[in-house]
C-alpha cells in the first residue's frame, strides 16, 4: 500500500501531531516547502484512487461472492452470497469504529493506537500523501472487507451465520489490523523493508492461513470427500472470476496511492500475471488429466493475481510472466495436495490459491525487485536492504511471522467463538442446506 522506498503512508499524513513534530524536528530547515507539499491534494491521484476504491469493493460484491457462490451446491448458494454481503457491511463499520485507527494509527511497532476511533480525525481537510485522508481510509476499508470475505470459502456450507459474524469481527481486530499495521502502518515489518505492495502478506497470506486453520478446526463437510460436491453453477463462478480480474486493477494499481508510473506498471504486471497464471493452470490440467477446464482457467487467473499482488509495485513485465507461471504450477499442485493427499476440506481452496500464492509472490518479489537482472530487473529493494539475500531474509521473516501469528490467533479465536455460539450447524441443517436452515430462503425455484 505504499510506493517502494516509502516507509509508511502515515508519515505523510497530517492530523497526527507527534508524527508531524518528528518530521519538523528532523527537517526543520526544509519546513516551509514541505508543509506546502504536504498540504496539496492532487486531483489526478484522487480521481484514480476514488475509481480504484470502487473497483476493490466490486471485487467482493459481486465478484468474489459470485465466484464462491457458483462453487457451492445449490442449497447453499444464498448462504455464500449472504456471508460476503454481510461481511461487506460489518467489516466497513468495524473499520470505521476502530480498525482504521488500529491499523494506521501511530501506536507502536505491533499495533496502531485508539486515537482515531470512529475516524474522529478524518476530516474533510485531512490529507494522506496527495489524496484526502477520507479516501485513503475508505480505500483501505475495501481491503479490510475482502480479506475476511476470502476466508468464507474455507468453511462454506457448514458454518453458523452467527459464528461467522463473530469470528470475522474478532479476526479483523486481532489479525488483520495488526498485520496491516506491521506492513503498511509503519510497524516492525515495514521497518525491515519488507515488500508487500498491495497485500500478498496483509491480505492473501492472512486470509489463506486463516482459511486453512478454519477448515481444520471446523472439520470436513459431512460426506466429504466420498460424496460428490461439485459446483452448482459454473457460469456464475466464471462471471465472478471475470469481475475479480477487472477489480484487481484497482487493488494493485490503486495501491500506488497515486496516478503515476508505479500505478501503470502495477497494472500491466498484474494483468500479465493473471493471463499467465490462467493459461498455466489450464495447461497443467491438460497435461495431467487430458482436458483443460474452465474452472482451472479461472482459478489459475486468481492464483496469478494473488501471487503478483505483493510484487506488483516492484517488478517488471517479464518478471510478472515468471511469477504468473510459477503461480499456475505451484498453486495447481498445492490444491491437489491439500484435497487429495491431506484430505482437508478447505472447501473452495482458499489456502492453496490465496495462501500459497501470497507466500510465493512475497518470496519472488525478493528476487525480482533486484535491478541487475536484465529484462527481469525490478524497481529496487525495500528499506535498507541492498541485496537479494537481505531482501529475501526480510521477506522470509515477514512471511513466517505472519503465518505463525495468523495461525495461532485464528485458532484461538475459533475456539473462543466455538465456546460462545458453536461453530457449526447441526447435521440436519447441513443436510438441508444453509439457505433454508439459516435464512429461510431458496436460491432457485425451478
Amino acid at each position: 500500500m505504499m510506493k517502494p522506498f516509502n516507509s509508511s503512508p502515515t508519515k505523510t499524513t497530517i492530523g497526527k501531531p507527534s508524527m508531524l513534530k518528528r518530521l519538523i524536528s528532523s527537517t526543520a530547515f526544509l519546513l516551509p516547502s514541505i508543509a506546502f507539499a504536504e498540504d496539496s491534494i492532487n486531483g489526478a491521484d484522487t480521481a484514480w484512487i476514488l475509481t480504484a476504491t470502487a473497483l476493490v469493493l466490486f471485487m467482493t460484491i459481486p465478484g468474489l461472492s459470485l465466484f464462491y457462490a457458483g462453487l457451492a451446491r445449490s442449497k447453499n448458494v444464498l448462504s455464500i452470497l449472504m456471508q460476503c454481503f454481510s461481511l461487506t457491511g460489518l467489516m466497513s463499520i468495524l473499520w470505521f469504529i476502530a480498525g482504521y485507527s488500529l491499523a494506521f494509527g501511530e501506536g507502536n511497532g505491533f499495533i496502531g493506537d485508539l486515537n482515531n476511533l470512529f475516524m474522529a480525525n478524518v476530516t474533510k481537510g485531512s490529507i494522506s500523501g496527495t489524496i484526502p485522508e477520507s479516501l485513503f481510509a475508505v480505500f483501505q476499508m475495501t481491503f479490510a472487507v475482502i480479506t475476511p470475505a476470502l476466508i468464507v470459502g474455507a468453511f462454506a456450507e457448514r458454518m453458523k451465520f452467527s459464528a461467522m459474524l463473530l469470528f470475522s469481527t474478532f479476526w479483523l481486530f486481532a489479525v488483520y489490523a495488526p498485520v496491516c499495521h506491521w506492513v503498511w502502518g509503519g510497524g516492525w515489518l515495514s521497518e525491515l523493508g519488507v515488500l508487500d505492495f498491495a497485500g500478498g502478506i496483509v491480505v492473501h497470506i492472512t486470509a489463506g492461513v486463516a482459511a486453512l486453520v478454519c477448515a481444520l478446526v471446523i472439520g470436513n463437510r459431512k460426506g466429504w470427500p466420498q460424496t460428490a460436491m461439485p459446483p452448482h453453477n459454473m457460469t456464475m463462478t466464471v462471471t465472478g472470476a471475470g469481475m475479480l480480474w477487472v477489480g484487481w486493477f484497482g487493488f494493485n494499481a490503486g495501491s500506488a496511492l497515486a496516478a503515476d508510473e508505479s500505478a501503470a506498471m502495477a497494472l500491466i504486471v498484474t494483468h500479465l500475471a493473471a493471463a499467465t497464471g490462467s493459461l498455466t493452470w489450464a495447461a497443467c490440467e491438460w497435461k495431467k488429466y487430458g482436458k483443460p477446464s474452465v474452472l482451472g482457467s479461472v482459478t489459475g487467473m486468481v492464483a496469478g493475481l494473488g501471487t503478483i499482488t505483493p510484487a506488483s509495485g516492484s517488478v517488471s513485465p517479464a518478471a510478472a510472466i515468471v511469477i504468473g507461471f510459477a503461480a499456475g504450477v505451484i498453486c495447481f499442485y498445492a490444491t491437489i495436495t491439500i484435497k487429495q493427499k491431506l484430505k482437508i476440506d478447505d472447501s473452495l481452496d482458499v489456502f492453496p490459491v490465496h495462501g500459497v500464492g501470497g507466500i510465493l509472490g512475497s518470496l519472488l518479489v525478493g528476487v525480482f525487485c533486484a535491478s541487475e537482472l536484465g529484462a527481469f530487473s525490478g524497481y529496487g529493494f525495500g528499506g535498507d536492504n541492498a541485496s537479494i539475500a537481505s531482501q529475501l531474509k526480510a521477506q522470509l521473516i515477514g512471511i513466517s511471522s505472519v503465518i505463525l501469528y495468523t495461525a495461532a490467533v485464528t485458532w484461538i479465536l475459533l475456539k473462543l467463538v466455538n465456546a460462545i455460539t458453536g461453530l457449526r450447524v447441526n447435521e440436519e441443517e447441513e443436510h438441508q442446506g444453509l439457505d433454508l436452515a439459516l435464512h429461510e430462503e431458496k436460491g432457485y425455484d425451478l
Partner: protein, 112 residues
Amino acid sequence: MKQITAIIKPFKLDDVRSALTDIGLQGMSIEEVKGFGRQKGHTELYRGAEYVIDFVPKIKLQVVVTDEKMDDAIETIIKAANTGKIGDGKIFVSDISQAIRIRTGEINDEAI
C-alpha cells in the same frame, strides 16, 4: 404385435426417428432416461476433485409394430443407432396383446 423398446444414445435419436419413418412407421414415444451398462459412467473433475457420475443420459424409445414389420424395424434401429462404440444401447422386444386407437375404436394392426 410387438413392442420394441430401444435404449439409444441421445444424439442418435434424430437418425433413428427418420429411419423408422422411412420404413413406414407412423408413431413412437420417447423419454429421457439415465442409466448405466458396460459403458459405466463418466468422471467430472473440479480442481482435482474427481466425481464419478454413475448414470449417463440415454433416450428410451418405444414403438409398437405388426409382427411382419418387427425384423425390419429392429434392423433399421440397429443400423441408425450404431456407432460401434461402447454405450450404443440395447433393444428389447415384447408381445402386445391388444391395441386400440382411441379416436376411431380401430383395434390391433389397424390401430398401430
